[in-house]
Each structure stands twice: as structure tokens, then as C-alpha cells.
């Protein structure tokens, strides 16, 4: 059972990291971070369940979710600002554009 859970966590990490590395779209980079955070959430709860520390694990997951939302809200605002300035969401295009 533990092996299946840890394999799933590793798969989520690989999917998220692969996406993070390959995509150039800013919104999709955020989606990749979300996929990585799903893996972290699952890992924390699974380890908490196995060790009899589920309350501690839940409190950590709640903290992570709050940080995730704040991070996403600020990142969304930044993406909108970048889009209004440059008219693009492509990282490569934004990198070489000047005001």
C-alpha cells in the first residue's frame, strides 16, 4: 500500500516537473506548480496516516493550501500585469521584449 502511494507521489512530481520544464506559457507554469503541490499534499497526509500523526499532517496541509492560494493570487496578478505590458504570455517572447 505504501509503495503504491509513494509511487503515485513520485509520478505527480515527475508530471509536474516535466511540465514546468517543457512549457513556456506563464499560466501553464502555474498549473505545473499546482500539480507538484498535489503531490506534496498527498505525501504529507499519507505519511501522517501511517505514523498516527494525521492531525499534524492536516494542519500542515491547511497551511500549504493557504500559502498556495496566496501565491496563486499574487502570481495571477503578476501575469495579468505582464500580459498588459507585453501582450504575450510566452516566456521566451517576454524575455527579449523591452518597454
Amino acid at each position: 500500500m505504501l509503495a503504491i502511494f509513494l509511487t503515485t507521489v513520485v509520478l505527480l512530481f515527475i508530471i509536474g516537473f516535466y511540465y514546468l520544464v517543457t512549457t513556456r506559457n506563464l499560466i501553464r507554469i502555474l498549473i505545473a506548480v499546482e500539480v507538484l503541490l498535489k503531490g506534496v499534499t498527498l505525501l504529507l497526509i499519507m505519511v501522517g496516516n501511517k505514523n498516527g500523526q494525521i492531525a499534524m499532517a492536516q494542519s500542515m496541509v491547511i497551511t500549504i493550501i493557504i500559502i498556495e492560494v496566496v501565491m496563486l493570487a499574487v502570481a495571477a496578478g503578476l501575469i495579468l500585469g505582464i500580459f498588459r505590458h507585453t501582450g504575450s504570455l510566452d516566456v521566451n517572447e517576454i524575455k527579449y521584449k523591452k518597454d
Partner: protein
């Protein structure tokens, strides 16, 4: 029976995460991410973590999806690379991902390298999330309050120019 349900849920979680990555339309990718969140919520319920599950469902599957959809609709006129690139190039880019995943599954399930590392039998902890948050991890609460305030201030500053205009 219970194990079988968990395996199906874990499989669906990986499937929706993979779909999020491979799918071309950003909106559909976000909906797939919300479905992955729903699967994770069910897994958390099965693992006796109802409070984390409720947070996951309401915040990750709800609020975050709404934020993503809002950002996508506000930047819809941008022809992003992911939606305009040719199908073949996209296929080439994600060709190796399923192969890597299959290889990792085979390796991890056959070798079982470090699983004992995660299980510690001699810990006795609090049973109640409220007790943990208010007695043991008070600093986390303070950190969360500061994070939320910082986030609100950040959003206000980001939209300040637009309000003035």
C-alpha cells in the same frame, strides 16, 4: 475492497494530472486539474483527513479553478504557444513523458528503495487538528495570517494602477 477503491482513485489522480499536462486547451487543462483535486479530496477522506479534504475541495477545486479561469479569460486574446503550436511538435514534446512514468513505476514497485524511511512507529501525537494548530503549531497560524495579509496587499498594489486609470 477499500484498497481497490484507493488504487482506482490514485490511478484517476495520475490520469487527470497527466491529462492536465497533455491537453491543448488551457481551459480544459484547468478543468482537468480541478478533477484531479476532486480525486485527491476523495483520497484524503479515505485516509481519515476530512478537514484537509474539505480545504482541498473548496479551495483547490473551487477557488483556484475560478482564479485560473478568470486569468485565462482575461488573457484570451493572447495566442499562447501551447495552443498554436503544431500537433506534431506537441506530440514530440510529450512523447517521452508516458515512457518515463512507466519506467519509474516499474523501478519503484520492483526495487522498493526507501519506503521504511517514511514510517516512524514511536510517535504519539494529538488527535485533534484544532489542538495541534492552537497548541503545537501556533507559529503556523501567525505565518498564515501574515501570508494572507501579504497576499491581499500584493494584489492591491498590483491592481493599484488600474484603479487609478
Amino acid at each position: 475492497m477499500n484498497d481497490f477503491v484507493i488504487y482506482i482513485l490514485l490511478g484517476l489522480l495520475v490520469f487527470f494530472a497527466l491529462l492536465t499536462v497533455i491537453i491543448k486547451d488551457s481551459l480544459k487543462a484547468v478543468i482537468s486539474l480541478a478533477a484531479a483535486s476532486a480525486m485527491l479530496t476523495t483520497i484524503l477522506f479515505v485516509l481519515d483527513a476530512p478537514l484537509a479534504a474539505v480545504f482541498e475541495l473548496s479551495v483547490c477545486a473551487g477557488l483556484i479553478t475560478v482564479i485560473f479561469i478568470a486569468v485565462i479569460s482575461l488573457t484570451k486574446s493572447s495566442a499562447s504557444e501551447d495552443e498554436t503550436e503544431p500537433v506534431k511538435r506537441r506530440f514530440d514534446r510529450y512523447l517521452y513523458l508516458p515512457l518515463i512514468l512507466i519506467a519509474v513505476v516499474v523501478i519503484l514497485l520492483s526495487v522498493k528503495p526507501f519506503y521504511d524511511f517514511f514510517v516512524v512507529s514511536s510517535i504519539s501525537g494529538e488527535d485533534n487538528v484544532g489542538d495541534v494548530l492552537w497548541n503545537i503549531r501556533r507559529l503556523d497560524i501567525l505565518g498564515q495570517i501574515i501570508m494572507i495579509l501579504a497576499g491581499v496587499l500584493g494584489v492591491v498594489i498590483l491592481f493599484k494602477d488600474n484603479i487609478k486609470k
